[in-house]
């Protein structure tokens, strides 16, 4: 049975806004409510169509009123933020993520109409370390609990959501652990990082990166909103890219820094507002992370349209990144050298 009233949190950001827009485009859904603390930008708002924006703070008990009065039956919790700068500092971010989720879950538990709860989580809950298995399945727990930041928030939130699922067994709870998003339209710290003309990396490390096209992420969330698909699912594109390989595909210049100077350089980059790099993202860029997506394909029934490499190439083209080392020039040099060799021999 399809949803009739959907509540989407974090609607002023890319994923929430576009999810609301997709759901609003479906006439079988009666109402789509978008909640966030600040209104979406005009661009996002225009795309959202008939979706209604409700300016509310999910940390506030008022959210319970919204859910009850609108008779919400499906809650799409997509507001988890990974970027402290965008949420006004780490403390505010943690409040928003953890306390906000607790309030939202409390409201959902009270409302008998709620039938479905979908959490947009992250694969960061598995951590990133050299002692991990190469590929995480949903059943694996991290070697060590995430020490802080975004990954710890997500880990704690998943715990609360599990508790909610136990207390309300009639609600279908879906937890989607997303790999890092990439795409021509989305703006994340990763897209900004690859847009730097000279990309700093840590000497001696080369992360295995699994990405997900933002359109695939939206399609997965949409599917989760429409059907009862309880469980925990890893969501990532097939295939991987090595960090060095991605930098080369984007035509950037890689500069490997010894780990001793990485601290100052990254704080400079953060300070200059070039890229908002958090420590766990730094770890991700050192060790990377790959998840198993068999459950997504077989149980959830979704196959991503873009592989990691295709998604990354789409990002490079969509952003119109002007390659510092362009493949065309490399080919030209290759042809030139061959021609010279032919002439000499």
């Amino acid at each position: 049975m399809g949803p009739s009233v959907v509540l989407v949190t974090g609607v002023s950001r890319f994923i929430g806004a576009h999810l609301a827009a997709r759901l609003a485009a479906d006439p079988s859904i009666d109402r789509v409510l978008g909640v966030d603390t600040s209104p979406p930008t005009r661009d996002l708002l225009r795309g959202m169509g008939r979706a209604e924006f409700v300016r509310a703070d999910i940390r506030n008990p008022l959210i319970a009123k919204v859910i009850a009065s609108a008779e919400v039956d499906t809650v799409m919790h997509t507001s988890l933020s990974s970027s402290p700068a965008a949420s006004g500092g780490r403390v505010a971010m943690k409040e928003m993520n953890v306390i906000g989720t607790m309030q939202l879950l409390a409201a959902c538990q009270r409302s008998p109409r709620v039938r479905r709860f979908v959490l947009k989580s992250t694969t960061a809950v598995y951590g990133s370390s050299p002692r991990d298995p190469a590929i995480f399945t949903e059943a694996m727990a991290p070697k060590a609990l995430p020490s802080g930041g975004w990954a710890k928030d997500a880990f704690e939130i998943e715990g609360y959501v599990r508790g909610f699922g136990r207390r309300r067994p009639d609600v279908s709870v879906t937890v989607l652990r997303f790999a890092n998003f990439i795409g021509p339209r989305i703006d994340t710290s990763l897209t900004r990082y690859f847009a730097l003309p000279v990309v700093p990396t840590v000497l001696g490390y080369d992360a295995r990166m699994q990405l997900l096209h933002s359109e695939d992420a939206l399609a997965v969330l949409e599917q989760a909103a429409r059907r009862d698909l309880p469980g925990v699912f890893n969501v990532g594109a097939p295939g991987i890219l090595l960090l060095s390989q991605a930098i080369r595909r984007a035509g950037r210049v890689q500069v490997s820094l010894p780990s001793a100077v990485v601290g100052p350089v990254s704080s400079f980059i953060r300070g200059a507002r070039l890229v908002d790099m958090t420590p766990e993202q730094m770890r991700f860029l050192n060790f990377g992370r790959v998840v198993d997506t068999d459950l997504l394909r077989d149980t959830f029934g979704f196959t991503p349209r873009w592989t990691t490499m295709q998604a990354f190439d789409d990002f490079v083209h969509g952003y119109k990144l002007r390659p510092v080392i362009s493949p065309a020039r490399v080919s030209a040099v290759e042809k030139g050298l061959l021609a010279t060799a032919r002439a000499l021999l």
Binding site: P130, A134, R208
Partner: protein, 404 residues
């Protein structure tokens, strides 16, 4: 070939140096008296590994070259040298029936003597082709146009960068000879289990070269490494690109289920960092995790015995405080390291044999039996025993650690 360079077999390691010299001198004298007398000791039925045989027999081992040289000089009958194999492992005609099966499958060790294209004779178009493929390779690397699997394995990197670095070591320095390559399946998953030795895991690297270059289908060996390897900058990322991953059951089973050939060295640090006096004595085989992984995947276990790696860096001491300081499992002292500084990193040019034993099937067990500890222990012991016996046999056939 001086006496000092000769590293004897481990059963005679407890014999004192003067005694060994004396014995060697005695044996040379005997050899001088008659070359024929040496025959029985040469034919592969020597079982001096466990029994304390008469002194001359093992002591003859280090000195085949002088004996061979001296035999004709002393007017030995023309038929006598027939039974003495040449040092390079090439046997004379008509000696086949005296050799053990091991010798028969030997590949000639002197690869450079094979006819090879002379650079001057290569045509311009060949050169051009080579240049084109090199430039194509560089372009693909520069623009990131290559495939990496989900473990981070970059086959182009492995074939074009790692292998060419290891190959000279394999061909010319250690002159590795492989035995029983047909026991390694050409397709499908298989778990290769080998003994570990040599202070640095050079044995693992040489095994990858053996399988890539000399296996009929040129298989990539996907090794399971210690976490220290992946924790170390540079080494960790290079290992991943070369196709190796962390030794843990999820990774092993995933690789085996995707039909890869997986290599594991279950002795770990205990094996690779054991003192020289314990050479070729297998250490404990982990907790048998590799056996249960193979059983769950239903793939055969191939016991692999490596002889020669023990002599590359004879570990005569361990500086434990330094090891603790650097977070290493041991800090080796070898005859050349740290005495000669960076020169100590040059391995001794021992002669290597890698024997792949008969596969031990695991597909007849059910998945539930993989959780039966007693069965897992039994199979672990069977694999260990097979490797240990093969090591003893190979050692008994080896005359000298450096000439083979």
């Amino acid at each position: 070939m001086t006496e000092a360079r000769v590293i004897p077999l481990h059963t005679e390691s407890n014999r004192t140096e003067p005694a060994r010299k004396q014995a060697a001198r005695k044996s040379r004298a005997q050899a001088a008296r008659s070359g024929v007398r040496r025959e029985p000791a040469r034919t592969g039925v020597r079982s001096s590994m466990s029994t304390t045989s008469s002194a001359p027999a093992p002591a003859q081992q280090p000195s085949p070259v002088p004996a061979q040289a001296s035999a004709p000089r002393n007017g030995a009958p023309p038929s006598a040298p027939r039974s003495i194999p040449l040092p390079g492992g090439i046997t004379g005609p008509g000696t086949g029936e005296e050799l053990s099966p091991v010798r028969v499958v030997r590949r000639p060790a002197v690869a450079p003597e094979q006819p090879e294209p002379v650079p001057a004779q290569t045509t311009a178009s060949e050169l051009e082709e080579k240049l084109a493929s090199l430039l194509g390779f560089l372009r693909r690397r520069l623009t990131g146009d290559y495939h990496v699997d989900e473990f981070g394995f970059d086959s182009e990197f492995a074939d074009h960068i790692v292998m060419p670095l290891l190959r000279p070591l394999y061909e010319h320095w250690f002159r590795v000879e492989t035995i029983g390559m047909s026991n390694v399946p050409t397709t499908g998953g298989a778990l290769l289990v080998a003994n570990h030795s040599g202070t640095l895991p050079v044995d693992a690297m040489m095994t990858t070269v053996a399988l890539r270059d000399h296996h009929p289908t040129g298989r990539h060996l996907r090794m399971l490494g210690a976490d220290l390897l992946f924790r170390t900058p540079m080494l960790g990322s290079i290992s991943r690109k070369a196709g190796h991953t962390l030794a843990c059951n999820p990774d092993a089973e995933r690789l085996l289920n995707s039909d890869e050939l997986v290599g594991v060295w279950p002795e770990g640090y205990k094996g690779v960092g054991k003192p020289f006096k314990d050479r070729y004595k297998l250490q404990r085989f982990g907790r048998g995790g590799f056996v249960s992984a193979a059983m769950r995947a239903g793939v055969p276990i191939i016991p692999c015995s490596i002889v020669g790696a023990e002599e590359i860096y004879p570990l005569i001491g361990d500086l434990k405080p330094l090891a603790r300081l650097f977070g290493l499992p041991y800090f080796p002292i070898t005859p050349t390291f740290p005495l000669l500084g960076p020169l100590g990193a040059v391995p001794l040019p021992s002669k290597w044999y890698i024997e792949f034993g008969e596969p031990i099937r695991t597909d007849r067990y059910t998945a539930a039996e993989a959780d039966d500890p007693m069965l897992v222990f039994n199979i672990t012991d069977q694999v260990r025993e097979t490797i240990q016996q093969t090591l003893y046999r190979l050692l008994s056939q080896r005359r000298n650690a450096f000439t083979g």
